[in-house]
Symmetry: C2
Subunit: 542 residues, 2 copies
């Protein structure tokens, strides 16, 4: 019945379905409302048709007496302000203004076990919460402030307006926690520069879908926009423009701080030894000079792995990066290294011989990556590397996380099996290369991914720490980022958060995702439509 209701709402006005519209009319006239509209779907969700009007003038967030966090908890105080505006989009005065009302007040009371208000979310942060909505109040309990943030998002999605603009919330009971600990979105700021505002707005939208890691693929071949304190030439010579197309230290702090307030970790990637053409512009002798015969050709290849100066440079760079980015994870790349330049270079060949690598350049690559992993390990960082590294590196430290990006559904399942069998933790990105576009409802492909549907033991499955939606930047910048990302990434978000069995039907997800997409549009996110239809509040910008 519930599904039929939602389906009717979803297709209202699109297809002539007299029976459906009849049911819809009856529902509207009875003043009922389905409250299934939480995306991603909570693990446990019961609600009734009993509903409570909410008056913005008599609506409060508060800390429960037993809560470890109390007033002045930076994360929650900021969240209350944000969510007040998100819950009451029509209300102009804003939260915190002295308000008078004859209505009975409605209070959302938050209680958390740990007052982790000034910390950063990390890989062990609990995001579990319990939300209980009843007459006059909602109780939100969580172990951490990060769990409380997820609960606030859920609460905000429960509130709806009737045709006269009155806000309501139904009696609801929710127990919720994420299926996977690591739910990431990758943005690529090297192939195109993304203004800081575009990144911040993406962080907002990530939180609406309960993503919790921003993987910042900050530099690559085309440009080096990160302004390093230690090596300022990297951006002044390697960025698209040394002033307008860079991320200053202050920009980076702003991104990290904004992300923290949404409970989002910032995972920086400084990919090497390949994908480093832009690095060479500001750091001489870093890249390998390629040879044509016996003379340098004037072009450069991957990072030069044979010079001690390379590792001195990397140690200083990663020391800075480790202090700038508070997360305990760091992404080291390691993918797609082209050996042709290394092969052409006589110094590299001599080094190979000296080290006894023979003609096997994967050994040289492994040698290089091991040095880099050691540098970051010494800085107490856990390394993530692209899956390529596993293939050429036998001695990769066990706490390194492998990032699976290659292959078809059939082949990445094999990789999942193989890598977890070796006891390695893995992250799945391969099926969620969302920069790839196709005509029609390709979100269905992102939704139907089954990250644990590979052959392996229960222990192996536990090694899959999560997944990542990758928005590579070849064809994406601030002009088209948002509609390409949303709501297609939200499909992956539900796969990573929700119970697999409860979310097995893509057709049942469709009207729910349509509904959620309209919520995103209402919040000012240019989320593109899934199919023919409309939102009550269309996007009004141009």
């Amino acid at each position: 019945m519930c599904n039929i209701e939602v389906m009717c709402i979803g297709s209202f006005g699109r297809y002539t379905r007299p029976k459906c519209n009849l049911i819809l009319l009856i529902i509207l006239q009875l003043g009922l409302h389905t409250v299934e509209g939480v995306w991603p779907l909570p693990q446990s969700f019961t609600s009734s048709t009993e509903r409570y009007p909410l008056n913005p003038n008599a609506f409060y967030f508060g800390y429960g007496r037993q809560s470890a966090a109390q007033q002045d908890c930076s994360v929650l105080d900021a969240a209350f302000k944000r969510y007040f505006s998100l819950i009451f989009p029509d209300y102009t005065s804003g939260y915190g203004v002295l308000r008078f009302s004859g209505d009975k007040p409605f209070t959302v009371e938050i209680r958390v076990d740990h007052a982790d208000c000034d910390s950063y979310p990390n890989e062990n942060s609990s995001e579990r919460y319990n939300l209980s909505v009843s007459a006059g109040q909602a109780s939100l309990n969580a172990e951490t402030v990060w769990g409380a943030l997820r609960g606030l998002e859920t609460f905000s999605q429960l509130v709806y307006q009737d045709d006269f603009g009155t806000y309501f919330v139904n009696k609801t009971e929710i127990d919720d926690f994420p299926r996977f600990q690591f739910r990431a979105i990758l943005l690529d700021t090297s192939r195109h520069y993304l203004p800081v505002q575009a990144i911040l707005k993406t962080l907002d939208a990530m939180a609406y879908s309960k993503f919790n890691v921003f993987h910042w693929h900050i530099v690559d071949d085309p440009s080096f926009p990160y302004q390093s304190r230690t090596f300022p030439d990297l951006s002044s010579k390697g960025a698209f423009h040394p002033m307008t197309h860079i991320y200053t230290q202050s920009d980076v702090r702003r991104v990290i701080s904004h992300a923290r307030l949404w409970g989002i970790r910032v995972l920086p990637e400084f990919d090497s030894p390949g994908h480093t053409q832009s690095w060479g512009k500001g750091q001489s002798d870093l890249l390998t000079p390629c040879y044509r015969g016996s003379t340098p050709s004037g072009t450069f290849g991957p990072v030069n792995p044979v010079l001690p100066s390379t590792y001195q440079f990397m140690a200083r760079l990663f020391k800075e990066v480790s202090s700038v980015f508070p997360d305990s994870y760091i992404h080291l790349g390691g993918d797609e290294v082209d050996f042709s330049c290394w092969k052409s270079n006589p110094d590299v060949r001599a080094f190979m011989q000296k080290m006894g690598f023979g003609g096997d350049f994967t050994k040289l690559e492994a040698f290089y990556m091991e040095k880099i992993v050691n540098i970051t390990s010494a800085l107490n960082k856990t390394s993530i590397v692209w899956q390529d590294v596993f293939d050429y590196h036998e001695r990769i430290p066990k706490d390194t996380v492998l990032h699976i990006w290659k292959g078809t559904p059939a082949s990445y399942k094999e990789e999942l099996s193989r890598m977890t069998k070796a006891g390695m933790r893995v992250l799945l990105a391969a099926p969620w290369y969302i920069n790839h576009i196709a005509y029609g409802q390709d979100w269905r492909n992102y939704y139907t991914v089954q990250p644990l549907n590979f052959s392996g033991t229960e222990e192996q499955k536990k090694l899959v720490i999560g997944g990542e939606v990758c928005m590579w930047g070849e064809y994406v910048d601030a002009t088209n980022l948002t509609p390409r990302l949303w709501p297609r990434a939200s499909a992956a978000a539900e796969r990573l958060w929700s119970d697999e069995k409860q979310t097995s039907s893509v057709d049942e997800a469709f009207p729910r995702l349509q509904d959620f997409r309209c919520k995103l549009v209402r919040r000012g996110i240019r989320a593109e439509p899934l199919h023919v239809g409309h939102c009550k509040h269309e996007y009004q910008g141009v």
Copy 2:
């Protein structure tokens, strides 16, 4: 040499091409600038490296003494204001403010043969212009104000800023005219509602690419947003929402008026007898009741062609539409009629028998379309119909324009050949269904279309009056319209405006289109990137 210059600028900072960058550096240091940056490419273009600084405080548009149009010419006066802002995007005071400057003035002097200032552009409007830029002045000559608008667009694209923000224009001589008379963009406001602002912004961007027809596919199965004076129920019952998702008479006037000021015709489409599900909601007895066996099934098919009331309704509707939309063309649709409902209906079958149509429902369809074409002919409108109509209608009036939308490159060429052989005028849309998206540089497909490369006589080729970029709305609304349309539609714009031989190389077009795309971004149009790279001024919105 010129091409090499532009190529280098296009790829600056993207690929390491030391030689290219060296040339670029030399050019920059000499203070030279390539002035090939006009899109679509003018028919005849010569320029030199001699350049003139432009000071916004000493820059004027004026009417030449011999110009038929003089001050208070609505179209040109408005264009001067718009183009002043487009030419000097950094200048905050705006055009028309009293200005003092020590600099020598620069005047753009416009001379037109006809003072068609208060008319609408039509199918015979000349868009030819001549632009001559020399020290202290530019002379822009045109037969009509519409040609002058095209010349102003060209002039605005010639102006550039150096690294210090100074504006320049080079000595230039341009003779220009469009290859095809009809260069259209279709927007579909039925599958999704587009706010008026989104339509107006699209008109702006159309003018930047010299498109001159806005084909407004205003109603269709999913919704009927046009608010009819004669039949207000059509939108109050057939729109997605009767208040928020409609186009009022005032909205329509605003669109037509805005389009006129850019020299753009507005071609309305009221597609029938298929694609009319939404019409049936507000007009009972209009659609054919479908039968299951001997009883009505409750669903409806295409417009009912057997009732006299149908034609009375259509006559009144098209009388209104003809007066609301000033263009002499009207699009009547006629595509994709599903016969199954007609076949099921006993009244329709009886009518078929009475008329002697046998079992051939295309004859019924032809009967219907002929009636509709006669209605609009009597209103002095030229009809455009989708190509389907040609296939089933032998007696289609010779002045009807056929709109080719079906098929592969091979098959639409056959259609072009077949239909022009029958002496019919045609419009080509098939290769430009731009709502279809694919990963990568699909603009190349739009660019390499050769509309006249079909087997036929010179006379036949003359019957191809132009082409149209169609943005069907299944997956498009205001959230993603702009980056899907631009700059991909601009590729088609050059094919429709410019000389085919001069624009035969897609690789030479690439850096020029990249450059033009950055101009669009600078003008606030969210035109998506073509490939890795950057614009000096990135899109700053979120």
